[in-house]
Symmetry: C2
Subunit: 488 residues, 2 copies
């Protein structure tokens, strides 16, 4: 035993490996919007029809793939909660996992384009199988080198049982995909049924573990422990890693938009000479709506990040349900490049009112993204003691401020949507100016909160003078602020 | 004073804001390779000529812009080392900064395409000026709300002097850019001279601070403190944030490659029907070299991350010089999509030997990326006590293992380069197989190190039995391993 420990002089905390993996997962999930955003849309067609017949199937595949990547990511989080330290072999295996994850967009796009081809299904299955096997290897390696394990498993009484349960969990996807691949030449329905089961594979693995332990005599008590541990991992997702993953999505979305502008809206030297007679101002003026659209979209993405940031600052943990809402919200935010493309494409000279349809689609995306953030908070309010820090609970000092922040975007997007339905006034320019104006709304909100807090403070604590002390006591003291005064 | 402290009940650690900013900075820096990688290269032309006349100027602009973004990033790190806590206003201002940063690729590309147009220069200058002003606002806001400040500045004796020095540093770029914009209609040379000075603006600001304090009487002693602080911020870059930034670059590079494959190498349904008679295997077989190139490139990027990870695990801090080497290494890694594109484009039927030129270019990129990583380590070896943790110093337990790891890629790329010069044997397939085989090299290296460590351990510590104890004592004990045994 002692010698095994010494073999791994190069054991390091797994933190950076996780951060790197989170970045890759989030980027991979988000770039899947590009096949949707880059769909050729003829300018003289009815956008409503294009959305329903051309875009909606693609959007569906995008959301599906976003969730598959998100589920793979949470399996990864789960695995590396158990592997607490990373040695060289774990790091290399993790790189293999990352290689497959980065390849997933290809197999998705292939399956999305050719859902009725055996090869497309088999290729996807092979990827998932390799992924599973790599994860199983990580588990095996960990049990051979206990010094990289999490403490509670290291000290577990029946290591073999724990290991087998973990292996079953890791290999579950490989089993399902083998079936899917084998059945694909015979029946696509059966094949896809197996693939859909991947979404529930953690639950299936836990149920199977229970079943096995029931039939194998004498080991019931031990398996209880395994199930318990399995459950606790299922129940919540590491909060720091959710933040890391979300940051990745928010960061890449903004960059994807500017990328498109760089490639499409800068004329070549030849073009400038012949088309615009060397007048760069005229050439850029031609695209001026694009810049307004860009800054408007960035303001929205940035503020949604800001709300996300405020929300997660007040959360203690992320349950599975909250993680699901978060993933849906992120998937919608990943759709912003599509909204950007459509709103920067049309102006009010359009015959079909495509301009308004584009605005409406943007509003739907903004509404869904922000309402899912609100849903996270509402979910947390059901179990405030477990999920929320004190100041965010009902009656807490930040409760209403946070709630108002979370309500801004659902309200704003709903109002714009209703205006676009009822009147002709709304243009994409007005829409983008509204997007750009929203930060001011948050700034005013902040001024109001300060004003109220100052009024509240000046009454009960007039003797408070020392600055240093006030900073230290701030947290506890502000918690006692009466609720009725905070209700803005 | 007390009331100011209470205004900001919503003060939070700036950690997540920094991580988000790091992600945006790194992605923005890296996507600038796309205009280079997406250059149309006719297949029937001599690649050597294309590289020299078409690609090299673009590569130069890419590296320049990568460094400008990297310098903006380190200014950002510097600013948020002083702002230790983020309130709502700081977060919103940071979002404004991020908006400008994300817009930078556009102004760069514009300036790269039209270096002799006043508008292009002015637009770039306006961006940098807005950036500076936002940073100055952060500084002003911080001094009005001392509870978000770093302790040492909060307790500083002459806050006004510190503030003015910080403001000068933040506004330095705005001043330089104003001059550049004003002179741009008159003379491009003068204008670009001012822009180049941005690269040295921190130093200029420090010198200016000194000059001002010399002429303002009585405040010499105080300004000494400011200069001292300024210097310590200049001297090193926060290590965690360098890791975060580097991870972003490594993560986005892999995804950029798969993105290209998704867009170009999946046929449409119509294409499949007419061109390949519905034979998906044939359609994909047509692109099979692309997949080999993808996995080979990913293996290289992944392993360079792995070496970077090992290296930074052994560093205590990152000096300016080391940060510069790191940035250069990252800029080269950002060039991998170009290497991927070229090596996946040609096969051995080519008239001009373009295949070999593509391999040589890839080798140059790999060599420069890895030798810069080695340069970081060599720089650290000059001041081991300040820069390295004990085990990485000469004589330390990990010293040679790390050194060998750092030497693998410079050696491998040099060998391949020489082979490609002297013989016709090398094909892109062989090159990619070699790339894919390199992980095995690292695995063998790891096995050798384990073997040696085991041999070393078994002699001096035969009585060591307790597993738990061995883990705890591991670090100190292994440090005493004699050097001559470690030399593999």
């Amino acid at each position: 035993m002692a010698s095994t420990a010494e073999d791994h002089g190069h054991v390091q905390s797994a933190g950076r490996m996780q951060a790197y993996s989170d970045a890759i997962f989030s980027i991979v999930a988000t770039v899947m919007i590009l096949p949707v955003a880059h769909t050729e849309i003829p300018e003289d067609k009815n956008l409503r029809e294009v959305i329903f017949y051309q875009l909606l199937p693609k959007i569906f595949i995008y959301i599906l793939s976003f969730f598959v990547v998100a589920i793979s990511w949470s399996a990864h989080v789960w695995l590396f909660q158990i592997v607490q330290h990373a040695d060289d072999v774990t790091t290399l295996l993790n790189l293999l996992i990352m290689m497959i994850i980065t390849f997933l967009p290809f197999t998705f796009t292939l399956m999305g384009t050719f859902p009725d081809f055996v090869l497309a299904i088999v290729l996807f299955c092979v990827c998932i199988i390799v992924l599973s096997l790599a994860q199983a290897l990580v588990v095996l390696h960990m049990f051979r080198n206990p010094q990289i394990m999490e403490e509670s498993i290291k000290n577990s009484e029946n290591k073999t049982a724990v290991r087998n349960a973990l292996l079953l969990r890791a290999l579950m996807n490989a089993i399902l995909c083998t079936f899917a691949a084998v059945f694909s030449p015979a029946s696509f329905v059966v094949s896809y049924a197996f693939l859909v089961m991947i979404l529930f594979s953690p639950n299936i693995a836990v149920q199977l573990s229970k079943l096995i332990s029931k039939f194998s005599s004498g080991s019931v008590q031990m398996s209880q422990e395994v199930i318990q541990r399995g459950k606790s991992y299922e129940m919540e997702v590491n909060k720091e890693r959710v933040e890391c993953y979300s940051d990745g999505v928010f960061a890449i979305v903004a960059t994807l938009i500017i990328l498109d502008i760089c490639e499409k809206d800068i004329p070549s030297r030849a073009e400038l000479k012949h088309k615009y007679k060397n007048d760069l101002v005229a050439a850029l003026d031609h695209d001026s709506s694009v810049f307004l659209a860009y800054f408007g979209t960035f303001a929205t993405v940035g503020l949604l990040w800001y709300i996300h940031h405020s929300l997660y600052h007040h959360l203690k943990r992320t349950s599975r349900l909250m993680a699901m809402f978060n993933n849906f919200s992120l998937a919608m935010i990943g759709g912003m490049p599509l909204a950007f493309k459509l709103t920067s494409m049309y102006d009010d000279t359009d015959f079909y009112n495509n301009e308004r349809v584009a605005i409406q689609l943007s509003c739907v995306i903004m509404f869904l993204a922000s309402i899912s953030q609100l849903a996270i908070f509402v979910t947390a309010l059901f179990r405030p003691d477990q999920d929320l820090i004190d100041s965010a609970k009902v009656g807490g000092r930040s409760h209403y401020y946070l709630l108002v922040k979370l309500l801004v975007y659902p309200t704003v997007s709903m109002i714009i949507y209703v205006i676009s339905l009822t009147s002709d006034v709304l243009s994409v320019e007005a829409f983008h100016v509204a997007q750009l104006g929203t930060p001011a709304l948050f700034f005013i909100l902040w001024l109001i909160v300060i004003k109220i807090q100052r009024n509240v403070q000046e009454v009960p604590n007039p003797e408070e003078q020392s600055f240093q002390e006030s900073v230290n006591n701030e947290e506890q003291r502000l918690l006692t602020v009466p609720v009725e005064n905070m209700d803005c």
